[in-house]
Subunit: 226 residues, 4 copies
């Protein structure tokens, strides 16, 4: 009778309603987190924003942190999709410039559409960098980046590789932050080509423009230039 899956679609429908409620609540939480930050976001405010009572919120989340966790996880899943598409495909045939296009554009788009990422994943506001999921994700992202970089700059040793990826990732986030600070949509997007120039100027000396698939066997150590 409870938690049943015996008969037809009744539990299904319940489940469905629950899912909707959860989505609703997470959306509300995202909004509230965005405007006031995690700590200052009261669960009551989230419930109000979602148009439900506090009690209802606690029907779905055991506590405030769980809301952040769930939101974080949802974002991580979406990010995984976006980054999977952007990073995990085969880039070995692309030129560096094209590679940057393929990777940066979707990431920028996703982040601009989900500003809560910044609210959640930055600053000392939240409890332990929400969910190790996110750290895992960042690690995964960096690993993918490193794999790509390793394919294009085989001569790089581990530590240099790490550092390079790290720099790119934080530069990306820094410029993203710049975008959030612009009110004007046009100005925002005008930063994208600059970001690409920035990373291109940094990476080209390290790994060259050419796709690894097109290169002769001999790797030219352009990294030595730095």
């Amino acid at each position: 009778m409870s938690e049943a899956r015996s008969g037809g679609d009744k539990p299904r429908r319940r489940q469905a309603r629950g899912e909707r409620r959860i989505a609703q609540l997470l959306d509300a939480a995202a909004n509230v987190f965005c405007s006031v930050g995690y700590r200052a976001a009261s669960t009551n405010a989230i419930a109000r924003e979602a148009g439900v009572s506090p009690g209802t919120l606690y029907q779905f989340f055991p506590n405030k942190e769980a809301i952040g966790d769930a939101l974080s996880q949802r974002l991580v899943i979406e990010m995984r999709n976006v980054h999977g598409t952007a990073l995990s495909l085969d880039h070995s045939a692309l030129g560096l410039r094209e590679l940057l296009d393929r990777v940066i554009d979707p990431l920028v788009d996703f982040n601009l559409e989900n500003p809560v990422c910044f609210a959640l994943f930055h600053g000392p506001d939240m409890p332990q960098r929400f969910d190790e999921e996110h750290d895992l994700l960042e690690k995964a992202i960096l690993d993918q980046v490193k794999t790509i970089f390793a394919g294009r700059a085989p001569q790089l040793e581990r530590s240099a590789l790490d550092r390079t990826a790290d720099i790119c990732w934080h530069t990306f986030k820094g410029v993203l932050q710049a975008m959030f600070e612009k009110e004007d949509e046009a100005e925002r997007h005008a930063l994208v080509p600059e970001l690409k120039k920035l990373l291109y100027g940094y990476l080209e000396p390290i790994m060259g423009e050419d796709a690894p698939a097109l290169r002769p066997q001999a790797v030219r150590g352009t990294a030595g230039r730095a």
Copy 2:
């Protein structure tokens, strides 16, 4: 040697203790803000960290926000010094690489020594981006950066100049963030040369390596390379 000595120092005598207390409290606040953020920092925690009672804190600051304000202001003053030295001197005879050295090093040093800057001036946690002073400071910094850039890339039009400075500033902050995430001192500082390479790679195509003072009369358009 410093502070009051001319005229009557009677009204100062007592103040001395007070001034020390204020500094003490601001230091404590900086620590607490750093570790848990502004919102989560309880005034009692700050007082405890400073080794005084809550009442004492309120003898000097009317409320919690005022603490953030005062800390912010203190940082702004220190930043003004550092940036004044770093940015306002005559760079016209320096090569771009040298310029970056002269500017980036002190800024990095200052920020690593005052990590509270990041805690205070980022995220939606604090009330109104603490004190418009800071915004003014950022604007001033950017203006100085723009002045330098304009001297080296006279062909740049206003909007491009703005964008270029903006990108540099946020890249700087992004890499700074990366530094904060490293536990290891050596790894931290290993990011500095990368930051310089990054910015050099971005700026060189725009303004060239040469100092403006050393250039032949005709300066032109190396930006075209990008």
Copy 3:
């Protein structure tokens, strides 16, 4: 029988408990205000007196002042009823003595049953003489008194009328205060006839004993006696 019954009573169901709580809290507040005054009344004490937790109090009142306001308003409403009945009916056929009976008795009764009126509406203790509502009420009361007086002493000019009403009102309050200072119920009520004598002695020379409806057209200016 009273309250919601038309239309949807769904939003009312819950409210019922709330309304009861509010009344309960106001009663508690009245008690506490009475015994220690507004300022010294702690919200926790009020909550305790009402048998609820501090949080519950704040579910219904945003702050301490709001409690005073609400209580004030409730009293004003009740006073309006009592005074409406006492003052707004037609007194033109009553002798002065009977008039005083009809007016004074219910007012005294009400005030003895609601001693908080004195606690709230006197002294510099409370924020801005709680709610302009009360001032409006006092003004309304005085206006009604003046109307009655004007009907009985048409020769009185405005300023004298104002003064007469004022004196009566404050005398009433003064004697009320005397009643509050008596422990003994009998002694308390023994003051009522004295109050009436007092006011009769003051008013009779001004407006005579006779009801205006019963007087011949000529009005005798007994006020001149004073």
Copy 4:
């Protein structure tokens, strides 16, 4: 060396300074009590009003209540003077009207000049009706009033006498309150004759107009008139 009275006038002068300080502080306290009441008056505010530091205040008063006590006592002394002059002299030769003049005028004057009396001696704000001194004083005043009344209305029995005096005293205070509510000096004083009429109208039926010294031996029963 301390507290000495050995030598000449040094301790005198000290004493004198102390007295001045105390007066200064009591004046300040009177002001603050008047504007915000006893409870809301912070000792720091009183010290500030007096132009001294909190520490200094506590050099002269062990605690806040002591300030109220001292102020109360000072007022009581002054009141004793005023009332002594007004009430304790021989009134047996005066007519009632003249008696009221002699008594009411100085009392009104004193109270208007010392509004703190109202702040201190009314309402539930202060700790136990400040100092039994004041209660004693009130009792003394009432006793004097009763003595006078007894001389003029020998037929009155004890309880009626008490009540009569009580009524007069509270009526006086009620009208005083009315005076404090007027901004305009002229309006204020216009209430004095009304107060006299009021009391005259009340007392005349009880004790007649004539002074007891002038009456024939058989005095009786004018009270019956009321």
